[in-house]
Assembly symmetry: C2
Homo-oligomer: 339 residues x 2
């Protein structure tokens, strides 16, 4: 019944204001290049018509989207939530919009998402970690898409990175565990294939074993996807051996939460019977009982700095500079001296 007016266009506004489309465009994009009186007239035309610029058309004409894409391994748990939130907030301050997608920890999916985001005209990309097929880096370079890695710092990476030293951080934590007298250790690691953060964390733990002159066999390792249930399963597998570990280090807080939960279900007291540690210091770590001893990662700082660095790359076509952020151990109650 009702007439369907199509969305108003620049032309409609121009006509209504009695100016050319170029002037309307300038009013929107470079207001100072238009005289006051005209600007006002255009402004009221815009309001009268309820005009909103068509994004796709603008992109086509201007070759800029003011959009930054980010591909994170998962949205499901809180690991990336705070850092990404900070990233988005900083972007917003500079007039950029964030497009997020998740790769579900699958390299193929990540590649597809990268292509999608590039096709959508992302001015820049935020990627997590350094491990990915070389041809992806080639693609990015060929297309001249500024990209930055976060959550993992590597001075000599293909892309600049803003992150921390996963290996060193886990090394420090493992040293602390060993220093507390633990000699039968286990690590519940994330899947290391295609995931340098997981791999480096595991390496860091191994470094510590070596550093303290312990038998490499003193560290049992289980690899499993980052999910609560998997942490729980891995934990019970580990603890139902004849001589179970006295400390279980987890590749991240989610896995640790699963372990902790399962420990309680098994009637094991943490930390009296077994110590558990995490990594990331997500909010959950503070909420669990006992509180989780873990590695604190400066998520918000990382997100904010990554945003600024990426914008710098996009706007000035600079190669971009990385930065190594500091982590520290947060001691709560889940780690204590070996029994």
């Amino acid at each position: 019944m009702s007439k369907l007016k199509p969305a108003p266009t620049l032309d409609d506004v121009a006509k209504q204001a009695g100016v050319s489309t170029a002037t309307v465009s300038r009013c929107i994009n470079t207001p100072d290049r238009v005289v006051e009186a005209t600007r006002k007239r255009v402004q009221s035309a815009i309001e009268a018509l309820g005009y909103t610029p068509n994004f796709a058309a603008r992109v086509m004409a201007a070759k800029r989207t003011f959009t930054i894409g980010a591909i994170i391994p998962t949205m499901d748990n809180a690991i990336f939530a705070r850092g990404l939130q900070a990233f988005q907030e900083e972007l917003r301050k500079h007039g950029y919009t964030l497009l997020v997608s998740s790769s579900a920890y699958k390299p193929e999916t990540e590649e597809e998402q990268i292509r999608t985001l590039v096709a959508r005209g992302a001015d820049g990309l935020l990627l997590i970690g350094h491990d990915r097929a070389p041809h992806i880096y080639d693609f990015l370079e060929q297309r001249q898409i500024p990209a930055l890695v976060a959550w993992s710092f590597a001075a000599e990476g293909k892309l600049p990175s803003i992150g921390f030293d996963n290996r060193q951080a886990m090394f420090d934590l493992a040293c602390k565990v060993i220093g507390l007298g633990h000699r039968r250790l286990a690590m519940i690691s994330g899947i290391t294939r295609g995931n340098d953060r997981a791999r480096l964390r595991l390496e860091g733990a191994r470094d510590a074993i070596r550093h303290h002159g312990l038998d490499p066999a003193a560290l049992q390792v289980v690899e499993t996807p980052y999910e609560i249930e998997n942490g729980a399963e891995a934990f019970s597998g580990l603890m139902s051996q004849d001589t179970p570990p006295t400390a279980v280090m987890c590749g991240n807080d989610v896995l640790a939460a699963g372990a902790l939960l399962r420990a309680q279900d098994m009637g094991l007291k943490v930390p009296q019977d077994v110590s558990i540690t995490g990594f990331d210091d997500i909010e959950l770590a503070r909420l669990l009982r006992p509180g989780l001893t873990t590695v604190h990662v400066p998520h918000r700082e990382m997100g904010g700095k990554a945003a600024r660095a990426l914008i710098e790359m996009v706007e000035h076509s600079t190669p971009g500079t990385g930065e190594r952020l500091h982590t520290h151990i947060v001691e709560r109650q889940s780690l204590s001296p070996a029994p």
Copy 2:
């Protein structure tokens, strides 16, 4: 130094394959309208060139984006994570991409995001809850943008909704609390302004008070934003009164987690000294100790159904049909009979 080839276009592919651009376009969009041999030739040209269609151009020409926008109040905690994940997965199955943004619980921001998403050509919109300024509904209608509400069911809403009955659910929970003998009750509610979920949950609790013939003053109410710290603060405020409540119902699990944590810090035993309940049944509810008694919301089901309903609306221009989903109380350890 290196030559910067611009991204290959349809024209390049057409030239390389020796066909017209129309044929290349058809190869991509309607492969069955192109003969086998041609299709192969085009396909290899695409691969040889590393061609990716330009999204903005496609949108301009086709007036379709295969993009659905969603505006959620927050990404910061897990309240919307699972439902949204399911929503996205279902969308993906049907070839749609999800664009998410968060309004930070601010109506003005929500409106801005709606406009942005529409400008970006979203084929449809997912909104949370029914409370918003009428002119937003007018805008959506005028622009003919299919939109659906989730997380709150209302048969007579301006937009179809796929959600549950917040009021009834909280009523049921409150009845259970009262049935356990609690007579001094408190509710830590989310901010009700512009948030029908929060408002209806509070109403439900009040309904229960009335239903059991209790003095309305038997229910103390504190309104505070949905953040852990606020839940904690509200809780200590409530408990440091002369005759504190014996049961504190929280507007959601995040608030409840804060309350629980603070209770422990205050040396209060839950549920012996005070009972605490939540709402939503996010993962956290299961991880806390004691486990949180809460209202289970079928997040994944809701997300999946919302996606299907919205796609239906988009593709067939139907008005869309809502659905009321069922919730149920999950009993864990944080609620027990009054002391």
